[in-house]
Symmetry: C2
Subunit: 205 residues, 2 copies
């Protein structure tokens, strides 16, 4: 079982690699400096998944990008459901990062009668009652929860019944899901804690 933090670093390496031409070769030291870690950590992270470097030289950018894309399963299309089409939900629907080819929000749900049936960012809002049947019909495997905290557990249960394998939860509450479902909680205020550290140190990387 690969630690989640290691997988998160792969995403960070992938973004850094995208800034270079395909045929460039980067050493683990160069890649480490780009993302703010050590070259030992880079080598350890990548060898978890296989031997992709050129001994004595480093990593071929094009090839490493391809390998990480495959490891993160970004070389396929994931269908997503979003539940709670409020301020945050609508901002995510409109965000270019959620319209990439590998992730597509396919169905959106809410329990507000005034929203059900209207089209938001190109998708018709469906009732939460329809989560299970819609997810099975479209083969949706990832759910995003952007409802108020008190609704989150009920919504998670409906998503699990609909067959999701992964949940991205924005509601500020601990939700319980079966062992076989991967849960990722997002708390944007943690981003601030990184800033406060560097501001108090007076330095920046």
């Amino acid at each position: 079982r690969v630690p989640e933090i290691t997988v998160e670093r792969l995403s960070i390496y992938l973004r850094a690699l995208k800034k270079f031409p395909e045929e460039k070769v980067l050493s683990s030291q160069e890649l480490a400096e780009l993302v703010g870690t050590t070259d030992a950590q880079v080598r350890k992270d990548i060898t978890y998944f296989g031997e992709f470097g050129i001994p004595g030289q480093g990593y071929h950018v094009g090839k490493l990008k391809e390998e990480i894309t495959h490891i993160l399963a970004l070389d396929r299309e994931w269908e997503l459901a979003l539940v709670g089409v409020g301020k945050l939900g609508t901002a995510l629907l409109a965000y270019p990062g959620f319209k990439k080819k590998e992730f597509r929000i396919r169905a959106i749900f809410d329990n507000d009668p005034k929203k059900i049936g209207i089209r938001i960012e190109g998708l018709i809002v469906r009732s939460v009652e329809k989560i299970s049947e819609t997810l099975s019909r479209y083969g949706i495997k990832i759910g995003i929860i952007t409802t108020p905290a008190e609704a989150a557990q009920d919504v998670a249960d409906r998503l699990v019944r609909g067959g999701v394998k992964g949940i991205l939860n924005f509601a500020p509450v601990r939700i319980i899901v079966p062992e076989k479902v991967k849960l990722k909680n997002v708390d944007l205020s943690m981003e601030l804690e990184t800033l406060s550290y560097f501001l108090s140190e007076g330095t920046s990387t």
Copy 2:
């Protein structure tokens, strides 16, 4: 210069520690398992900042929480400015995670004449023209950018002129800031990449 990834892990340790009573003692192995990393990484991360463990036993939860809170500079109050009071900006204003005692959004700005002067989540929307003077008056050191991409660089320049030391940027564009300003870009779609990895592996940590 501590790598940003190390600081991010401290935030993760801090959240894990909050689930335990103050007088409990946790080994680096136990802490590592809680967050999904190795005990060597935990020890390395913490010794960057000092010796806080009890040799042979581990870390006293209360004491380590206090130390990390101090290292992340969460034992003081930071004033924030938010620019771009749209869907995402308003969702962040209403979010309990941004109303903690250590981070307080103190002033909000927009360039839409229909929004300037009205009160949103308890704060009056000011014109972007007023950023520099308002930030100096309140001693605001952190700026949050939730404007469209094409406005982000201009807004960043105004924040820097107003004296901010750190910027949290949500707009999907690369912005340039002086060396002495700490910039943190947020891309919520990276959270999905972690999910897709675990869904394709069929396991979860």
